[in-house]
């Protein structure tokens, strides 16, 4: 099986999520190859899990004031702050039959590719069920998976340069809980590539390491989106990801 790899690109939150869904459809009907994509969010954005309430989780007004995007994902999991300069996101979209049937086992396989990528950068890391990757006891990557029509979608984020203060301003934690103590507590539990490696690792280094870790031992070719995929993605932006009915559904 030959994979398509789409190199690091950047899009709005709604288009990023729409591309994932559009490509799932095209992989499901056999019109697109299994795909690995790397992307950033421009502007910065917050994504929330399928089962979350946007207004409960996110300071929507602040998000708008800062010019940031917000979007509901098709996957479960928690709210994520996608800093335009502080993380790289990936998606793996492929027939589910090539992965273990068990959810945790399949997380383990794909998260293993992230662990390999971090190893490339000299960072030792491990998969921590259900959906995290940790290094020296701190979270460096969060992941989420869904399966539909025989296709597995797993997307996740690799923290490159963590801005805890902005994250806390955007994600709604009761105001009385936002103390210096809590921010430093999160810093104890979450880390980033820059926290570990300092300025010696550039974003390009991270992107290259991810490509290597994800493609190791696979047949693959670099590719772009087809016209049909992009047309469908833009339809999905209009139909779903830009809609109040979707983003404020719960």
């Amino acid at each position: 099986m030959t994979w398509r790899v789409v190199k690091l690109e950047e899009h709005s939150a709604e288009l990023n999520m729409a591309i994932d869904e559009a490509v799932c459809e095209f992989v499901a009907n056999g019109k697109s190859k299994a795909t690995i994509r790397f992307y950033k969010w421009k502007p910065s954005a917050v994504s929330i899990g399928y089962f979350q309430s946007l207004e409960d989780e996110v300071d929507v007004r602040l998000c708008k004031d800062l010019g940031f995007d917000f979007v509901r994902r098709r996957t479960g999991g928690g709210a994520v702050y996608h800093d335009a300069k502080g993380e790289i996101t990936y998606s793996v979209i492929a027939p589910e039959k090539i992965f273990p049937k068990g959810i945790t086992e399949s997380y383990h396989v794909i998260c293993g590719w992230i662990v390999d990528s971090l190893n490339e950068l000299g960072i030792t890391a491990e998969f921590k069920p259900i959906n995290d990757i940790i290094t020296h006891g701190k979270k460096i990557s969060g992941n989420a998976q869904t399966r539909r029509n025989g296709v597995l979608l797993q997307h996740g984020t690799i923290l490159y340069d963590l801005d805890v203060e902005t994250m806390f301003r955007l994600l709604k934690v009761p105001k009385e809980k936002i103390s210096d103590k809590m921010i430093s507590d999160v810093k104890q539990r979450v880390t980033s590539i820059r926290d570990i490696k300092g300025d010696s690792v550039s974003e390009m280094n991270v992107a290259a390491a991810l490509e290597k870790g994800f493609t190791n031992g696979k047949e693959f070719e670099y590719g772009k989106w087809t016209k049909e995929e992009l047309v469908r993605a833009h339809e999905l932006v209009k139909e779903r990801y830009s809609k109040q009915e979707w983003n404020f559904m719960r």
Binding site: G49, F51, Q52, G78, T104, I130, N131, Q145, T146, R148
Partner: protein
């Protein structure tokens, strides 16, 4: 009356219940950062609890949810029917917002 409760499952995820009820549950939302495959099953799970007597025990709420998950082949990850049922009862018993 409206009720609200939250629980973090040990080694798992968080569930938040928002419920509107009197003698029966009028409406309910099961929110959180857990996983459920397929995702749309959440609406059916909520529908299963709508209209049941508010006095229903935690165990019978759990049974309703477990039966639904079993027959629909939906799968909760990082969450259990037991934790959801416990949080539903907590929302109606201790989490009433006046």
């Amino acid at each position: 009356m409206k009720g609200y409760a939250i629980e973090k499952v040990e080694n798992g995820k968080l569930v938040k219940i928002k419920v509107d009820f009197d003698e029966r549950i009028n409406s309910i939302q099961i929110l959180g950062d857990f996983f459920l495959h397929p995702e749309e099953s959440i609406f059916e799970m909520e529908k299963q609890l709508k209209g049941i007597p508010s006095s229903q025990s935690q165990e019978s709420i759990q049974l309703i949810l477990e039966n639904y998950l079993k027959t629909s082949h939906a799968k909760l990850i990082g969450m259990t029917a037991e934790a959801i049922a416990r949080t539903v009862k907590k929302a109606m018993n201790e989490g009433v917002q006046k």
